[in-house]
């Protein structure tokens, strides 16, 4: 039964990784931007939610507000900083976005402080429920539910709306999409904002297991990037599979072989990428 508990823990963790990373996979797949500031947008959202919650605003509303706030910041950043980047090389993209990351880290440290924020899990979630063989934290079940809901929403947008159709077309074949009259600039903006909003929301909701502190933006960035690379850049399904896989493997590693957990995770990722350089489920354009 311990295996099932590990699985649940891993899935809860994976769901948070998914909510935060799905925006990154689309920006990296669609816009071809190595966006190392994605974690910073998530972190700022998480901070915003924590401040609101501590001021007495209900948890869920704070999380939604965090998403809106991160999305608004994303819009601002896309229009001013990212647009000139589309034509530049990977190195320039890496550096500008790392610069953005540095600014967020230092600003939060200077204005809020270097210590980790208190977790903002509300009382109604912060309890145990019986799941057939043992007590299990309701919060983690809640995360799994929210993650599944978000996956459904993203799936619905990608598969059932005109916006999603355009998005998929642009990821698969950017030139063709432009040629048939998709306004790629607008598409980039909306996608970027959506991705940042999800990241901010995800960081706020998941703050109970991924605790917020100024270096959040760099510490978890590696995980977000891994989800994108392993899933296949631009692949929404791939990022879900990869996020769950990494969540479960990382959790299992920490439980079962605490000495080598992290080591094994990276070796696995390294081998996966050598075996499938375009990720597990790459979009058509990458193959």
């Amino acid at each position: 039964m311990q295996a099932f508990t590990i699985l649940l823990d891993g899935v809860a963790y994976g769901m948070i990784l998914f909510i935060i990373s799905v925006g990154l996979t689309v920006t990296m797949g669609l816009m071809r931007i190595v966006n190392l500031a994605h974690g910073a947008f998530a972190m700022v959202g998480g901070y915003f939610a924590t401040v609101l919650t501590l001021k007495g605003i209900p948890f869920l509303w704070s999380c939604v507000a965090a998403g809106l706030f991160a999305g608004a910041l994303g819009a601002l950043a896309e229009m001013t900083l990212y647009r000139p980047l589309y034509r530049k090389g990977e190195l320039q993209q890496v550096l500008l976005t790392i610069g953005l990351c540095f600014i967020c880290i230092s600003a939060l440290t200077l204005f809020v402080g270097a210590t980790p924020l208190p977790a903002i899990v509300p009382a109604w979630l912060d309890r145990m429920v019986y799941i057939g063989y043992r007590d299990y934290p309701l919060y983690r079940l809640f995360l799994i539910g929210v993650g599944a809901l978000m996956a459904l929403v993203v799936w619905w947008i990608m598969e059932r709306t005109l916006f999603g159709a355009k998005l998929r077309a642009a990821v698969d074949d950017p030139q063709m999409a432009r040629a048939v009259g998709v306004n790629v600039n607008k598409l980039f903006l909306f996608t970027f904002v959506g991705g940042c909003a999800l990241a901010g929301f995800g960081a706020a909701v998941g703050a109970g297991i991924m605790s917020l502190e100024p270096f959040y933006a760099l510490r978890y960035l590696v995980y977000f990037l891994i989800v994108v690379a392993v899933g296949g850049m631009g692949s929404f399904r791939g990022s879900l599979v990869a996020a769950l896989l990494i969540g479960v493997v990382d959790t299992a590693g920490r439980y079962l072989v605490p000495q080598f957990g992290g080591f094994l995770l990276y070796v696995l990722i390294f081998s996966l990428l050598l075996w499938r350089p375009n990720g597990l489920l790459p979009p058509k354009s990458a193959t």
Binding site: M28, E90, L91, L95, I98, G99, I103, A114, F263, L274
Partner: protein, 331 residues
């Protein structure tokens, strides 16, 4: 002719005087910089690290976020060699850079088939693997306590490492000079030019019979060896190695220093690393997070407005001067 004057790549090579300038400055600093020699050592080590990245990333176009792996490997190798094998600093340096080069050769052979974001992730994964390995091999590396007790013996058996870092300064400066001369020759050799070609268009190079993969692997190994030397110097002069050498931040910082100074210019490493370390030292003395803020803003400004880094700005100014002179002579 005017278009040639505008292109920085075809500026006349700098006169010997320009070449002597950074080295003369460094030597001058040695005599007047009492109390700041360890800061100077830190700068020189970072210049060497940045120089190594310029070879791989700048010239060969190998996009990497994992150069910390080689720096860290060199640092731990030199430290452990000093503690367990022999305290001769030059032997330790040679051991560390050869080990790093071998590791670069091996990993390069594995990953240099890929490019772009996949390569970025693979390089990152390698340094994370080393981080985790060093973290868990506590019996060897002492984990997050850091490896201390490094006591390099006298240099060449003659010069003791003093407390103020004067010997260290000259030692590191000499190693940097040797590595710089090697880099200078390599990027001007047919080998270096073929890598410049690979960066611009690997398809073209295949069409003229270049073994692209082997060539990239060779440059990567060379760069890794140099990064390992930088790590070894850091371990020997600071007498301490911490796990943070393997972190993403280390790889990020060296890329920052490179772009700050300007890629593919060799001397860009000198300017970028110097400014970075100085800003870190000055702003960091006030509040360690100020420097991060300043560097962040600097990066954004450089990427958006000064493509060639600070060396690019200098070159543009020089080109302007040349044009002005030329038009003056025409009159």
């Amino acid at each position: 002719m005017s278009e040639i004057a505008r292109a920085p790549a075809s500026l006349s090579p700098p006169s010997p005087l320009w070449h002597a300038l950074p080295w003369a400055l460094a030597l001058g600093f040695f005599f007047v910089g009492d109390g700041y020699h360890s800061l100077g050592v830190n700068i020189l080590v970072m210049i060497l690290f940045t120089l190594s990245l310029d070879l791989a990333l700048g010239y060969a176009g190998i996009i990497t976020l994992g150069h910390a792996a080689f720096f860290g490997l060199g640092a731990y190798a030199a430290g452990l060699f000093n503690i367990h094998v022999d305290n001769d600093p030059l032997l330790g340096l040679a051991f560390a850079s050869l080990l790093a080069a071998a590791f670069g050769l091996l990993t390069g052979m594995l990953i240099l088939h890929t490019k772009g974001e996949t390569l970025l992730m693979l390089t990152l994964a390698i340094s994370e693997i080393l981080y985790e390995a060093a973290n868990h091999m506590r019996w060897l590396t002492r984990g997050d306590d850091g490896l201390d007790g490094i006591r390099p013996g006298p240099l060449l058996g003659l010069f003791r490492f003093d407390l103020w870092g004067k010997t260290s300064f000259l030692y590191v400066l000499a190693v940097l000079f040797v590595c710089f001369v090697i880099s200078w020759r390599v990027v001007r050799s047919p080998f270096g030019r073929s890598l410049d070609g690979i960066r611009q268009n690997s398809r073209r190079m295949r069409a003229i019979g270049t073994p692209v993969w082997w060539r990239l692997v060779a440059m990567y190994a060379l760069s890794a060896g140099m990064a390992g030397a930088a790590g070894a110097l850091s371990a020997q002069t600071a007498r301490l190695v911490g796990l943070s050498v393997f972190q993403l931040l280390t790889s990020g910082i060296v890329a920052v220093m490179l772009v700050l100074g300007g890629e593919r210019r060799l001397y860009g490493a000198f300017i970028g690393a110097t400014i970075y370390v100085l800003v870190q030292d000055i702003a960091g003395a006030i509040n360690p997070f100020y420097w991060m803020f300043v560097i962040g803003v600097l990066l954004i400004v450089i990427v958006l407005f000064f493509e060639g880094g600070l060396m690019g700005v200098i070159d543009a100014a020089r080109a302007k001067l040349v044009r002005k002179k030329a038009s003056g002579e025409a009159k």
